[in-house]
Symmetry: C2
């Protein structure tokens, strides 16, 4: 049977894949993988190949975006082809085009979902999922944008939390730090003065979500900027209105001082 199966690798290491995803990989004729849309900090290709018993061909951004994944589509025309993607295959929309192209060429596609960084960060924080507004990525300084600040301000106005992914380039081992992200947001605050990101704004910094030893720290921006989060990747949450159970959760798991209970909503 020829088909293209998109499989999420989940987070952190080669055991982040689901049992189903691993089974599907074991029965594939050809296996491809990309490693650039997300960092899997403890992933070893050799260990993964031992686990699935297949040779895995790592494809570059160039292969996917400039050559439209031709090598993958050609393989999927003649046999069961698996394409492994960090996290969930379509939470970053990069690969939707490949899936549409496959269907246009008459190749059947299936998805085996994986654990996504998005839901993992929400889950780790203990904050209520239905209270998150729009998500945003804070870019590297060379791609400076006011959008992240605007999203935080808008969500806050509606009482909603904002999940900020911090930009990364996994191939070149570049990661925007929490300190850098706060600095950029503070610059926009100084200009727009909406009060969304002041030194006394509370935020939650998260490092290595999905890894075996994640770091969470909820504190005032001014203190968070100097906190040592250890190894990447990083993300930030700007809470909107906090329910007392959410505060309890931050106190229990994000090193928040108990005095936070007295903070206004």
């Amino acid at each position: 049977l020829n088909e293209l199966v998109f499989i999420g690798l989940g987070l952190n290491d080669e055991k982040g894949i689901t049992v189903k995803g691993l089974e599907e990989t074991k029965s594939a004729d050809q296996v491809f993988m990309e490693q650039y849309t997300n960092l899997m900090a403890d992933f070893s290709l050799a260990r993964f190949e031992a686990l699935c018993g297949k040779k895995v061909q790592v494809v570059s951004r160039r292969t996917l975006e400039e050559e439209n994944g031709k090598v993958i589509l050609e393989a999927a025309k003649v046999g069961k082809t698996v394409f492994l993607v960090p996290g969930d295959p379509f939470i970053a929309t990069t690969h939707v085009t490949l899936r549409i192209d496959a269907e246009k060429q008459g190749i059947k596609t299936r998805i085996v979902h994986g654990t996504s960084i998005m839901s993992t960060i929400v889950s780790l924080s203990g904050l209520h999922n239905y209270k998150f507004g729009k998500t945003v990525t804070v870019p590297f300084p060379e791609n400076f944008s006011e959008t992240p600040y605007n999203v935080i301000a808008q969500n806050k106005k509606a009482g909603l939390h904002t999940l900020c992914l911090l930009d990364l380039n996994a191939n070149e081992n570049l990661f925007l730090s929490i300190n850098q992200a706060i600095k950029m947001l503070r610059e926009v605050e100084e200009k727009k003065k909406l009060g969304a990101v002041t030194p006394d704004t509370v935020a939650v910094g998260i490092a290595r979500a999905g890894g075996s030893n994640p770091t969470l720290k909820a504190d005032f921006i001014k203190d968070l900027a100097n906190f040592d989060f250890g190894q990447p990747p990083y993300s930030l949450i700007f809470p909107g209105e906090l329910h007392f159970m959410e505060v309890d959760s931050l106190i229990a798991f994000a090193g928040t001082p108990v005095t936070f209970r007295r903070l206004p909503k």
Copy 2:
């Protein structure tokens, strides 16, 4: 070592768990599981017990919410204890209290995340993750609320998509249907007349997200209400402004007529 490990079972069946989650379960002294926060349509307890080689104790909502998970905490005081939860352990916040209680009693806790219904629905739809606003659950008619309509209207105003989870009671095999959800939203529209859910509003109905044979259908509300989605669980997306790539994706995977390309944003 005594500890409490929360492990996400992921979606659909016993192979939705990660390889890491399965390994952790295999090495546990006691294994508990709840089955009421989400439906895992093809999950077999017997097959899962064969897979992990452990006896799994299913705990009720009563045990968790009225007795505060006492039986689980007692086990975690004397040995490695695993608590299995459908999807991701903390995307529904039901179990955050148990984790806080454990830490208060000096029990170390860890999390092995799982595939969540939230990210899976976004991923399946091909819509852009960062364009989703606040999420909402549409309740059963006996818990009628105007909130879901208001959330859709607010998100739409900001150009954002709304993910609507449809209420379910997995224990009693009750699932709010897409037809019922639309009917409730239309009732509020008739009263508030904000134009957020008219017969000509486009929505995406999704059944069995995360299963091996999900159904997606994007269409006008008036046509969606009569579409046969098959077995539960169900969800709905009300798109805000659509990027042309998102329209392409709906045409390719959600049976959307090509004429949708001509729809205004």
